[in-house]
Symmetry: C2
Subunit: 278 residues, 2 copies
Amino acid sequence: MSSRSQTIADTLTRAIIDHRLVPGCKLGERELAEIFDVSRIVVRQALIRLADDGLAQIERNRGAFVARPSMQEAMEIYDALTLVEQGVAAQLSDRLGPAGWAELRQHVERQRQAVAAGNDALADVLGQEFHTVFVRLSRNKVMQEIHAQLVRRTTLLRSLITADFDYCNLLDDHSRVVDLLEKGRLKQAMDLIDTHHRTVVRGYIMDREVFPEMTPAEALAPYLDGKADAATTSAGLRQAKPSGNGDGAAHAHVHLPNEDRAPTSRASTKKTNRGLPT
Amino acid sequence: MSSRSQTIADTLTRAIIDHRLVPGCKLGERELAEIFDVSRIVVRQALIRLADDGLAQIERNRGAFVARPSMQEAMEIYDALTLVEQGVAAQLSDRLGPAGWAELRQHVERQRQAVAAGNDALADVLGQEFHTVFVRLSRNKVMQEIHAQLVRRTTLLRSLITADFDYCNLLDDHSRVVDLLEKGRLKQAMDLIDTHHRTVVRGYIMDREVFPEMTPAEALAPYLDGKADAATTSAGLRQAKPSGNGDGAAHAHVHLPNEDRAPTSRASTKKTNRGLPT
DNA sequence: AATCACAAGATTGGATACCAATCAATGATT
DNA sequence: AATCATTGATTGGTATCCAATCTTGTGATT
């Protein structure tokens, strides 16, 4: 088994991806040490890993927080993602064999069935996974890791953002990309990938604030020993198991930089994280 | 100032880039703790950072070693590098203004002058730097960091490899890429980038072994307090300041997996790291 | 009442000492 | 000579302690 700091880092990453830990949330050493029942040092090592991954931000003598990417950084992440996926598309259009195309088609089909069945949660997961499968077919582990890191960071953005776009259009993009690529129409496929991401970004409107709906202890509870139902719960925060108090008043540990903090309606958070476009 | 583990990680990274710490070299916690005069914990945090960066490999209960990428991984790294630089090239051909092209040309010119002056060390550094400047012009910090990490990992390969190629051809590639891009001949520029990297990789022949010529303590000595002349010494090991014994007999701390270890001539190491193609 | 300064508390970054588990190398045994 | 067991060294991790810094709350002042 790998080191304990790695597993803790993985758990925190999972919680961030699942939007149970939201940007700006304070990750106190002592608090996490208690939650995971390890020493502070192991926690600090885990936080270093998160920070290296771009998911956390460590401020000297102030502690670690879930990263709060700026709008600028959001654009850069999506630009990088586009660049990587376009490059992989170019490689695949040359090198991919029939089995590869079949796998992609099969994945798209699975997602389509999930949508048809009204299983939005599964559809969202599959939608995310498509990009991962796509890059995996390049058979380049280095590239895979880079891409996976970028994808992880986009999940941060989805917490900061009010999605507002036509969900159905995006759903077909995956299928069309596969079609275009297999037909050798690389240029059009790359343009579609660009448009795909650009549509997502354009639908994004950075909110100024995000309020955590639970404390880290509550957020991390599902992962602790039960080996949590990770994949299925990644759709939203709604069906969370608060394991105790259900009062959503816990605004604890929010990190807000010195900005104009207009008392916006907290309801905006409710509308966030609806669809998870990919 | 940032955390101490970060500065130690930076120093180790610098030493690896400078080929003072070679792949397979053991990075013992206690040893490094003494060298840097810190506790083992700080060292371990630094090693975690190195491992996350792909420059070190931590084996449970065995310790950390400078990473020893396989031939497969080497190809993947260069593939990823090609993909990134081709993508950046595509972006620049659209978006780059006159000032940007001027900066690239100026950089190429500086390198040409260095070559003309016979200053191979400076030429090598500038050759590396060209790629960095190239990516920086994309104005995408996320992409820059990804690229920089890939470049760092290529320096590992140069320790493992006996360079054997036509050095002069590669020198002009940078200039030609700039020319092609500015003229809008994107496709050709991308092909040239591909060929550029492919030529480098083809010239590589993975050696089975690399023998460190000094202990970590010797390797790290130049960086310790004098704030070392980092940039200028990155050409090779030759003008190193061993700060003490000059006997190159110290084969200490080599990590060799269970492989057929033919007693090859140690002289191969001498021929390595001549030109640093980029 | 509002603001500023200061002191107390809390948190982080780090050091030290210590322990258990594991790997490696040595020596003992057959 | 080959194999097995023991010993030593190293790592992963804990607990405790300390200094520096940040936050907060209180109180004095205007």
